[in-house]
């Protein structure tokens, strides 16, 4: 999977695991950011509907859940 270039990954020499862009970075933005249009959205994985709601409700970002 191609991903945006990494601008920066710790160069201090102390990094034990220099981690590039991960799918999590992508998911954080693409699935939980962006303009929420009013419409019908279904996200399905392996043909099983995970979410089937009016988009106004939509997926709660993992980050937002963690803030609670």
């Amino acid at each position: 999977m191609s991903a945006p270039r990494t601008l920066y990954a710790s160069t201090s020499g102390r990094t034990s695991r220099a981690e590039p862009i991960t799918l999590v970075d992508l998911i954080d933005r693409v699935l939980s950011g962006g303009v929420v249009v009013h419409g019908h959205v279904t996200l399905a994985v392996a043909e099983i509907d995970l979410i089937d709601v009016d988009i106004a409700l939509l997926v709660a970002a993992t980050a937002k859940l963690a803030e609670r």
């Binding site: 999977m1 191609s2 991903a3 945006p4 990494t6 601008l7 920066y8 990954a9 710790s10 160069t11 201090s12 102390r14 990094t15 034990s16 981690e19 862009i21 799918l23 970075d25 992508l26 998911i27 954080d28 933005r29 693409v30 699935l31 939980s32 950011g33 962006g34 303009v35 929420v36 249009v37 009013h38 419409g39 019908h40 959205v41 279904t42 996200l43 399905a44 994985v45 509907d49 988009i55 939509l58 993992t62 980050a63 937002k64 963690a66 803030e67």
Partner: protein, 219 residues
């Protein structure tokens, strides 16, 4: 045929180039000062496979390279062009203002992760409820101390979003809206902070289209 929405741009951006998911060509649906970039789509769902997410992100990134864009959330399918026009009419004021605020800026992600694991490991199974909650509180307090150290970054950004302890190994997950011309300066400051902070490792990602600033709280 329904329409998959990739993002909102200024109507003056002209017809988008390139393709979206499944190699489908992009076109613009314009209303007043705004245009939605869409592709034809069969059905009302989009499977969020890694390839689809990546293709979506690349499409939105290409839009950003041509001008200001507000990315749509992945999976935004509207039934037809009139539904898109209705969206652009209904939210015109807000979308125009947001486009104005993100113009000339990019989103930079910042992950702070514990260098040696969380200072307070959370192991719910082996503890009482009380000690689990106490550990969780301590973890949040440690994360807030890290967040305080990152405050100088805010001065280099137009706006920012923050999640505290989104995962136990991540004390802070930030997104910053940074002027394109200040990205190098921003990254240099992250580098300085990374050198200074012993507890955490900082990693920037990006530049991203402004996903975290396209909706929700005002930018």
């Amino acid at each position: 045929m329904s329409l998959l929405v990739y993002g909102i741009v200024e109507a003056t951006s002209g017809e988008p180039r390139g393709v979206g998911l499944d190699g489908r060509s992009l076109h613009a649906v314009a209303e007043g000062p705004l245009a939605a970039v869409v592709s034809n789509h069969l059905g009302d769902r989009v499977e969020p496979t890694p390839d689809a997410l990546s293709a979506y992100e690349q499409t939105v990134r290409r839009l950003m390279e041509r001008g200001a864009v507000l990315p749509a959330r992945f999976g935004s399918v509207l039934e037809d062009a009139s539904a898109v026009l209705e969206l652009l009419r209904r939210r015109r004021k807000d979308l125009v203002a947001r486009l104005q605020r993100v113009r000339g800026a990019v989103e930079i992600g910042l992950r702070a992760s514990w260098r040696d694991g969380p200072p307070t490991p959370l192991e719910a199974r082996s503890q009482s409820g009380t000690s689990y909650l106490r550990d969780r509180l301590e973890l949040r307090q440690s994360a807030r101390r890290v967040a305080t150290e990152l405050e100088p970054l805010g001065a280099l950004a137009r706006s920012s979003r923050r999640a505290i302890v989104p995962r136990p190994d991540l004390p802070v997950l930030d997104s910053y809206l940074v002027d394109s011309g200040r990205v190098s300066e921003f990254v240099a400051l992250v580098e300085q902070l990374d050198d200074r902070l012993d507890e955490v490792e900082l990693v920037c990602t990006g530049p991203w289209p402004p996903y975290s600033f396209a909706d929700g709280a005002p930018v």
